[in-house]
Amino acid sequence: MSNDNENLKPLSFENEEELKPLSLENNTTHQSNDDFVPISKGANNEIKNEDSNFVFFFGVSASGKSVILSSILYYLSSQAGVLSPKSGAPNSKEAQVLLADFFENISKGILPNRTTRDQVTRIDLKFEPSNKSKKVPPINLTFLETAGANHQDINKGNQYHSSIDSYLNAKIPLNILIVTSYDSAHKEDSLIYQFLNRLVEKGIESRFVNIILVISKWDLSGKGGVTSEDELESFISERLPMTNNRINAYEFSKTYFTIGKIESNGNTEKITNLNLDSAEIISKWLYECITGYPLDYEGTFWERIKFSF
C-alpha cells in the first residue's frame, strides 16, 4: 500500500535454485543413551490389512507439528530407507508441494511454514526400509497435516472442523502424536486431556491406537537431549499432570523432540545444526507400532547367518 506510485513491470519468472550444504550432526554418537522410549505394545503384530497407516498430529499452533513431520520424513528417506509415493494413490497438488517444501527447506535449515486452517493435507507414502530382514517389510504411511487452530478449537467441548472429524470418525488405523512444546506444555495439559477424552467419545479406544506424547523444542531446556528417562518423566509429571496420569494408565509412549540448533537471523529463524536423533526415535516408534518389529531388527536366526555371508 505504501508504494502506490511505483511502476510495475512484467515479471520474468526464473527460478533461482540455491542449494546449501547439509549440516548433519553425526547421529551415531548420541544414539546409545537416547534410545529409551518405552515402546507401547503394538496394536497388531502383523501388518494391518488396512489401506494405510495414518499418522495424526495433535498440538496447538507453533507447537512443532510440521517440524516433527518434516524431520520424520527426512529421517525416513535419508537414513532409514526409501519414501516413495504410494502407487495408485496420487497425492494432491497441495500435498506434493508441501512434501517438496519439507524436503527442500529442511535441508536448507528453513523451518516449515505455518499450516492453513480448516483443511487437512493428506500425504500418502510408501516406506521401504533399507533393513533387508523379511520381518521388516515396507509399509504404507499416510500423514495428516493439520493446523493448530483446529486443535485449539476443541477446547470447551467444541467440535472438530469437518475435514478433521471425518478422519477421526473413520475406522482407520491411527497413530497419534500429541505434540506440546517445552515452553508451553504447562498451558496445554487441559487441552490434551480434552483431546484424549474426545477420542474416547468418538469410540477410538486407546488400546487400538498408538499414541505418543512428544515434548517438542527440548532444546529450549538448554540441552540437546535428556540425560535420563527420569528427566523427561519429571518434566511431564510436573507440567502435564493430568495428561501424565492418563498416559501412564494406558501405557502410552513419551519422548522429547528437538530439531537441533535454531538461531534467529534478523527477521527469520533458521536451523543452524540439524539433529535427526529425536526424529529417528519417533520414526522407529512409529514403525514398530505398525509392524511389531523394530526398524533396526537384526534379522531372524537364519537371516543373521545369511547376512553374515
Binding site: M1, S2, N3, D4, E6, L8, K9, P10, L11, F13, N15, V60, S61, A62, S63, G88, P90, N91, S92, K93, E94, V97, L98, D101, L111, N113, R114, T115, T116, R117, D118, Q119, A147, G148, A149, Q152, S181, S184, K187, E188, S264, N267, T268, E269
Partner: protein
Amino acid sequence: MENTSCYIFAFATFGHPNDFRQTPFKYNNPDVAKQIKVFDLSNAIKVFPNSTIYSIRKERIGNSKLISYSIYTFAQEQASKRDGTFIGSSIILENKLAEEKYVIDCLNEFHQKLTENNLVNGVLKVNHSKDFIPNGTLTDFDKIKNPQIEILDLNFNSNNNSLVVYCDTSPNKLELFFKNSIDLLNVYDTIYFTKSNEVAEFVIQKGIFKLIQNVEDKKDFEKEINNLIEERKRKRERSISEFEREVQRINDDKDRTIQEFKTQIEQSERTHFENERKLKESKEDINKIGQFYDDFLNKTNGLISQLRHNNGKLEEVKQIHNNNKILFNNGVGELKRPNYTTTIAKPKPKGNLHTEHTRQDNDNRSSHRTRSNEESEKIGYRIKIYKVATLVLAFLLLATWIYVLFFKTSSETDIETTQNQEQVNTIPQEQIQTPIETTKLEDLNPLPNSKLNDNDFRRVAKNITYQSKIEDVVKVIFDKNPTDIKSNYIGQENKYSKHLIELNKQCFEEKDGLYYFTKDTLRQIPSFKK
C-alpha cells in the same frame, strides 16, 4: 451492532496457541457470520513483508450469496518469527453488490486503522482477533452498508479454483478489477490481486494457483475475461449448431418416413385394388362354377330319366355319361385355375393388409390340398425358420459379445446418433423426446479433458458393488480420485453423475427414477488433468 447486509471481518495469524482467527466486527446475521469460511491463506500463496494482497471471493451460505473483498498485509506473530504470517480485513456483501470504489475505500480505511491500532513494529499486539481494536467509523460506510446492485449471472457453486493477478492494485485500478471479477468468479472461487513480485514469484514457484499478469503490455486479465466471454459464446454457438443439426436430422427423418409411408400406402392400395379385382372375378367364377356343375347335373339327370323311361340303350347312355364326366373333369380343372390368387403381389412387411392376403391366399389353395397336409407343411416350414433364426441370433449374440469385449473403445457419441436414427425410423414420436434428454446434460466445469486410465478405473471398479446407487458410485469415484476428479467436480456431483450415466449407459439401469449400477465395468470416467 448495526443491522446491515454488509459484514466486516478482521483476521490474523496469531501463532501460539490460537493460530489463525477471524472475528466479525459488523454483521447482519450472526449465523451467517459464524459460517463464513476462514480467510486463511493456503500454502499456494504467501504474504511477504511490505507486500499487500487483495482478494475477491464468492461463497454461499444457505440462502446468502456472499462476495468478500479482502486485504492481507504482513504481520509478525507475537511469539515466533515464522514467515507468511499476516493481518487482514474483509468486507463481505450479502446478496447484492455495492460500488466497488466505496468498498475499496472502506476496506483500505478499515485495514489502515486495524494495523495502526494492533501492530507495534509489525508485530501483533494481541493474541486473538476478538481482542483487536477496530476502526469505529468508516467515511463511506453509508454507501456500502445497504448494497443495491444485483449480482447478475453468477454461479455460486464452488469450482475449487483460484487465480492470482499480478497487477497495479491502486484503488482506481483495483476498482475495475473487482468490477470485472464478478463474471470471472464463475470460473474461480477466489481471485487474488497483488503488485508484489515476491508474492507473484512465490505463486509461480508453488504452481498450485494460476498466475496471470496484467501490467504494461501484458493484459492477461482482459484476456481471461475475453476467454470467458468467448468460451461462453463458443458454447452457445456449439449448442445452436447442435440444435440445428438435430433439426435438420429430424426434418430428413420426417421426409423419409413420410415418403416411406406414402410408398407403402400406394403399394397397399395397388394390392388392395388387385385383390378387389380378384374377388370380383372369383364371385363371377362362382356363377360359372354353378352353371358348369348344373350343366353336368342336368345332363346326368337327363340321362337318368332317359334310362328310367327305357328310351335309350344302357351302354350308349353309359358312354354318353362317361364322355360327360371326362368333359366335366377337364372343365373343372380349367374352371378352377382363374381362382388362384397367385397374381396378388407379395405383401410388404409393413403393409396392414398382409395377414388378410395370406389367409385368402391359403383359403383359395385349400381346394387343392388337404388341411392336414397343409398344416404339417406349415409347421415344417416354421421349424426351418426357427432353426435358421436361432442360428442367426446366436451368431449375432456372439458378435455382440466380441464387440463389447474387444471393440468398446469406439466413441459413444457415434453409437448414440445411430441409435437415435434407428428410433426415428421405427417410432418417430420418441425421437422428439431424445434431444430434450441430451440438452438437459449440462457441461461440467471445467470440461473434462481426460478419462481415468485402466489402472484407475479398475481401482474404482473394485470399490463399487452392483446394485449401488449412482450417488454412491460417484462418491467412490471422487474418493478414489481426489486430485483429478474430486477437487475439480466437488459440488457438481449431479452433473457428474449424468455425464457418467451418459458415457456408460450399458452399466446402469433405471428403477423408479433412480439409476443403479448393475453390470459391466465403468470404463469411461471423465476427469480433468491440470
